[in-house]
């Protein structure tokens, strides 16, 4: 195997192979369920078969008598409420008196093996008093007298946000073209291929360790200590390799509390591995949203007003719901300039598995609605879809209508790249019956100024230690959830210190050993953890240079293993030794990311305010079978402005994965519930996620706008590129056959219905 030269280097911008790649390639990488300990017990959770009920009594005595059962657990043993956001603690590890969806956890059994634990579950008697279940946001709104979750102050509302920026109604009244439509976004879920798993062990001194497939070790640490009533200093949370998350592992979950409590109770290690079905109940996926959107354009095709009324179906618990209600409105105000803007978003509690942050949290749904509406409005004015997006470009170093500061903005370049790559000018509107192209754009945050629990401490920390051998150890709290942050840490160390990136050890996501990081959500990791790492490395680089200058002179360059000066060069290890001697102590330094004050000067103005925004444009190509409504997305060109590609291979991977996941939501993914609130087909057979044969060809194009604030100019790449896929596909289907899809997923039957409702002469969009 010849390796191309760009693999050899490992500094910033190199296509350096992932540091844990080889460990995963040979099967040796350790994920949570790969852990096993002597005397380990296996536990299973009993779940509510009712969508809404009061618990009258729980009797575990028969289960306890089953041979092989070691312990049982009920909610009364750890009734404290928790939740990822401190203002909405509304969950219990095991329900004490109230179950809120089919699948809500009620009791737990630890046994010598899983089968015995499962059989024991069937021996637990729970007496329920069923309550009326509210299964949609509309129902939850209509029945404030039925309380899904006591945490709601008014009716069943988790959170309502209403904000208006400028005279929206005036702008609408004078518009040249308006679209006013209702859009429905179906709920979908993350479906990481690794099911959630947690293992707990208590050592002889009473210290508790929990290994968990989580993307937020720090919050799990906090909540475990609180719920179990342990001093946080006695609790350690470790995140092993993570088999995919996408936001689905960014809440504390019942299994973490249960393994911990059972380990404390039995003195033995305890493991819980969710079945695939249980992963569906843990959910925290995309919120279903109904959106009444108005988009108004002036005669020049400028967006003069956007109005969005959003009803959000949240499920039984809040999760990040407070944020969702804001993100649904706050993140729409780029890459285009909005003349005026208003949104009213309401997140409801319902008797279904709780929704949460799925890749592109809160903003994928309104983005879909808006980008389709924009296309529609532009069509009325006869403006080409790419042209209308170009004309409304908001620019750089500007403030959005809702007071968010945009720094770098490479959106125009993104549009240009996808326009060229897709052959838009020659092909849009001209592809022949049943084939079409569609475009859409989007913006997303690189972390948020809102740190979930406000405090004066840094949001992300890194400790770097140099050994006299030349080995660099980076201790980072950040979670590598597959996106590759551990690799970026090696590259940052290589860039700053001049070490060989292969001689960097990353110790990550272990609350005993590593500094705190808030977790892998809101696309904050590369940005915030990257800046923290750079700060720590810079401090060490100064010390290295000072010490090395004695030997090689001033004006030192640190480059991949060598320290070069006017008077010669020494190895990186020698420089470390000189520096350690000069310091008279081992060499280490820390760096942190301190939350900036950002955002509009109004309540909620900080939510969605980010130190930098990423931008994306997609063009999708589709084929529609007009007789059956069956359609296929054959190719998507996706250009993404990530500021600076610290590692282009990883950025492309994020773009490709995002495009896939967006296209999947357009094609086939939906959480469907029956009348009783029972989730249909909680399996990877019934909840269909695309195979290789269903996934379009994806062309990932990287745009660099070199952000002044990001590490080396970098912004995010993991979530933004998902957004445009869905509206680009909808717009492409319109180009192919003249119909407007406003409800997800675009099932063939929906397509067929719209095709049949077409009026003659509307078969094709007219090319502009």
């Amino acid at each position: 195997m010849s390796r191309s030269s760009h693999h050899e280097r490992g500094d910033i911008g190199a296509r350096f192979p992932k540091v844990d790649g080889a460990g995963k390639a040979d099967g040796s990488g350790v994920y949570t369920d790969d852990l096993a300990f002597p005397r380990m017990l296996h536990a299973k959770l009993l779940r509510s078969p009712h969508a809404h009920a009061r618990i009258l009594n729980i009797d575990v005595s028969a289960a306890e008598r089953l041979p092989g059962v070691i312990a049982t657990l009920v909610g009364a043993e750890m009734p404290a409420k928790y939740g990822v956001i401190p203002w909405t603690h509304d969950e219990q590890a095991l329900a004490t008196d109230h179950v809120r969806f089919i699948g809500d956890e009620v009791a737990c059994v630890a046994a010598l093996d899983e089968r015995t634990a499962e059989e024991a579950l069937r021996l637990i008697r729970v007496d329920y008093e069923p309550l009326p279940a509210l299964l949609s946001a509309e129902e939850a709104l209509a029945h404030p007298e039925i309380k899904v979750n006591e945490k709601a102050k008014v009716g069943n509302i988790t959170k309502e946000v209403k904000l208006e920026f400028g005279p929206v109604d005036e702008a609408i009244a004078t518009a040249a073209a308006i679209t006013r439509e209702r859009y429905q976004y179906a709920g979908s879920t993350h479906a990481p291929i690794e099911p959630h798993c947690a293992v707990a062990r208590v050592d002889g001194d009473g210290n508790l360790t929990v290994w968990s497939s989580t993307q937020i070790p720090h919050y799990v640490h906090r909540e475990l200590a609180r719920v179990l009533g342990l001093p946080p200093a006695r609790v350690r949370v470790i995140q092993p390799l993570l088999g995919g998350a996408f936001g689905g592992k960014s809440d504390p979950f019942s299994l973490e509390f249960c393994v911990a409590k059972l380990a404390l109770k039995t003195g033995r290690p305890v493991k819980i591995l969710f079945t695939r079905e249980e992963v569906f109940y843990a959910h925290r996926g995309r919120h279903p949203m109904a959106m009444d959107v108005t988009v108004a354009l002036d005669a020049g095709g400028r967006i003069s007003a956007v109005d969005n009324k959003i009803l959000i179906d949240g499920g039984a618990y809040a999760s990040f719901g407070l944020v969702t209600a804001y993100y649904a409105g706050q993140l729409l105000t780029g890459p285009y300039r909005f003349g005026t803007y208003r949104f009213d978003s309401k997140r409801m509690y319902t008797n279904k598995p709780p929704c949460g942050p799925k890749r592109g949290h809160g903003s994928v749904q309104p983005r879909f609605a808006f980008e389709v509406a924009l296309d529609e409005a532009a069509e009325k004015l006869g403006i080409d879809p790419i042209e209308v997006r170009r004309r409304n470009f908001i620019g750089e170093d500007v403030e959005t209508v809702n007071g968010q500061r945009i720094t770098s903005n490479g959106f125009l370049k993104c549009l240009e790249l996808v326009e060229q790559a897709s052959g838009w000018k020659e092909r849009h509107g001209k592809l022949g019956p049943g084939r079409g192209l569609g475009v859409a754009g989007s913006m997303y945050i690189s972390g948020t100024a809102y740190p979930v629990y406000p405090n004066e401490m840094p949001q992300s920390g890194v400790l770097v230690k140099l050994d006299r051998s030349g080995r660099v150890a980076v201790f980072s709290g950040a979670s590598d959830i597959g996106q590759g942050v551990n690799t970026l840490l090696c590259q940052i160390a290589a860039e700053e210190l001049g070490c060989d990136p292969r001689e960097v050890t990353v110790v990550a996501a272990d609350t005993d050993l590593t500094p705190v990081d808030m977790g892998a959500y809101s696309s904050r990791v590369t940005f915030m953890n990257g800046l923290a790492a750079r700060e720590a490395c810079e401090k060490l680089a100064r010390k290295l240079k000072a010490a090395a200058s004695v030997r090689v002179g001033d004006e030192i360059e640190l480059e991949l293993g060598t320290v070069r000066g006017p008077r010669g060069s020494i190895s990186f290890a020698e420089a470390c030794q000189l520096a350690e001697a000069a310091e008279g102590a081992p060499l280490s330094a820390t760096g942190g990311y301190r939350t900036q004050k950002l955002g509009g000067n109004y309540r909620g103005g900080t939510i969605g305010a980010s130190p930098a925004y990423s931008f994306t444009a997609h063009v999708a190509e589709v084929e529609v079978d007009e007789e059956t409504g069956i359609w296929k997305v054959t190719r998507i060109w996706a250009a993404h402005d990530c500021g600076k590609a610290l590692n282009p291979t990883l950025v492309e991977g994020q773009i490709e994965g995002s495009v896939y996941m967006g296209a999947a939501e357009a094609q086939m993914e939906e959480m469907v519930y029956g009348k009783q609130g029972l989730l249909f087909g909680p399996s990877l057979l019934d909840y269909k996620i695309p195979t290789s044969l269903d996934t379009p060809l994806i062309d990932a194009l990287i745009v660099e706008s070199h952000d002044p604030n990001g590490p080396y100019g970098a912004k995010e790449a993991g979530e933004g590129p998902l957004h445009p896929a869905i509206p680009a596909i909808a717009n492409a289907i319109h180009d192919a056959c003249g119909i407007r899809l406003r409800e997800l997923p675009f099932y063939p039957q929906r397509v067929l219905q719209l095709l049949q409702a077409r009026v003659p002469g509307q078969e094709r969009r007219t090319a502009c």
Partner: protein, 331 residues
């Protein structure tokens, strides 16, 4: 994990031994490739403590044979042929291209390596309300097919209408195949048209102690024009939302001399569309294809036993039939 119930596995080395085991072990069930029965066992759909694994019979029951008989040539397919094998076998590709096509579209590559023809023909019926975990079914209140008393597909229904979901069945039905069955009472040959029953709980005439050992397809002198179509949401790892197969013989003058159309994934029994005799003698053309589409639509009633909207499936059926018939004619 999704744990299996406690059970014993028996590994006979011959058909005779297998049949003896089936007869002697209470509630014993056959395990061939296991791709259907193992997930079902994990879901707690069967009460059985004994599985009879057929792997040891591979040398006996894994063959594709052509032979001439009194009624002309036929092609014999051993029950332990894998789906993958049938999708690539030169004889099958040549004489039964629609079967190879159906096999290529079953599940995914690994499942096709594991799954067998016998297992496919004996595949348990499927329904969105039954192929679920014990917990899920308990939350639903169970159903007729297992542990319950009501059907959630047909309200007040007294018979389970879970769907025949095997993709080889419609093809082999259209091609007029028969199956050979061995049991403690000896051997019998059953035309496939008589093999399936209108009962989702047990949709074949197979007795619990019998083994399906072979499917045989007659090869009439005038080679049948044939085609298969499968409607599904996902391009792999997905059961049919509708599948259909057509076989027709066409005279040199372009007139239909024999004709069979089978539509499945509807209810427990694959539906051979009946009353087609009047079409024999008609030209094999678009008109015929459209007429077959209309008749299929009249005779087929998709149900909510499958996750894809039944009204939609019914609506597009004529289009699917028309296209498949035209494809067969052109073959």
């Amino acid at each position: 994990m999704l744990t299996l119930p406690r059970l014993q596995l028996h590994r006979p080395g011959s058909v005779r031994e297998a049949v003896e085991l089936l007869a002697s072990k209470p509630n014993a069930r056959v395990l061939a490739g296991g791709t259907d029965i193992v997930p079902n066992l994990k879901h707690g759909i069967y009460e059985t403590e004994h599985l009879i694994a057929l792997r040891g019979l591979s040398s006996e029951l894994r063959y594709v044979r052509r032979d001439g008989g009194r009624d002309g040539d036929s092609i014999r397919l051993g029950a332990l042929c894998t789906i993958d094998q049938l999708s690539k076998d030169p004889d099958v590709l040549q004489s039964l291209p629609a079967l190879a096509d159906a096999c290529r579209q079953i599940a995914g590559p690994q499942l096709r390596k594991m799954g067998t023809l016998g297992g496919n023909l004996c595949l348990d019926t499927r329904c969105v309300y039954i192929n679920q975990s014990y917990f899920w079914r308990s939350a639903l209140g169970f159903c007729l097919k297992k542990d319950g008393t009501a059907c959630h597909v047909v309200a007040q229904g007294l018979r389970c209408v879970a769907a025949a979901s095997n993709d080889t069945a419609p093809v082999l039905l259209a091609l007029g195949a028969s199956v050979r069955i061995v049991g403690p009472r000896g051997e019998r040959v059953v035309p496939l048209a008589d093999f399936y029953l209108h009962d989702g709980i047990h949709n074949t005439v197979l007795e619990p102690d019998e083994l399906l050992v072979e499917a045989a397809v007659p090869l009439p002198a005038a080679r049948l024009k044939q085609a298969f179509f499968k409607l599904r949401t996902r391009a792999a790892i997905d059961y049919s939302a509708i599948n259909l197969a057509v076989a027709l013989a066409v005279s040199p003058a372009g007139l239909v001399t024999a004709l069979r159309l089978c539509v499945s994934a509807l209810a427990a029994r694959p539906a051979l569309i009946n009353r087609l005799q009047d079409l024999v003698g008609q030209p094999a053309d678009l008109h015929l294809a459209e007429e077959l589409g209309r008749r299929a639509q009249k005779q087929c009633k998709p149900l909510t036993n499958i996750g894809v909207d039944p009204a939609y499936r019914r609506e597009i059926l004529p289009v699917l039939v028309r296209r498949t018939v035209l494809r067969a004619i052109a073959s």
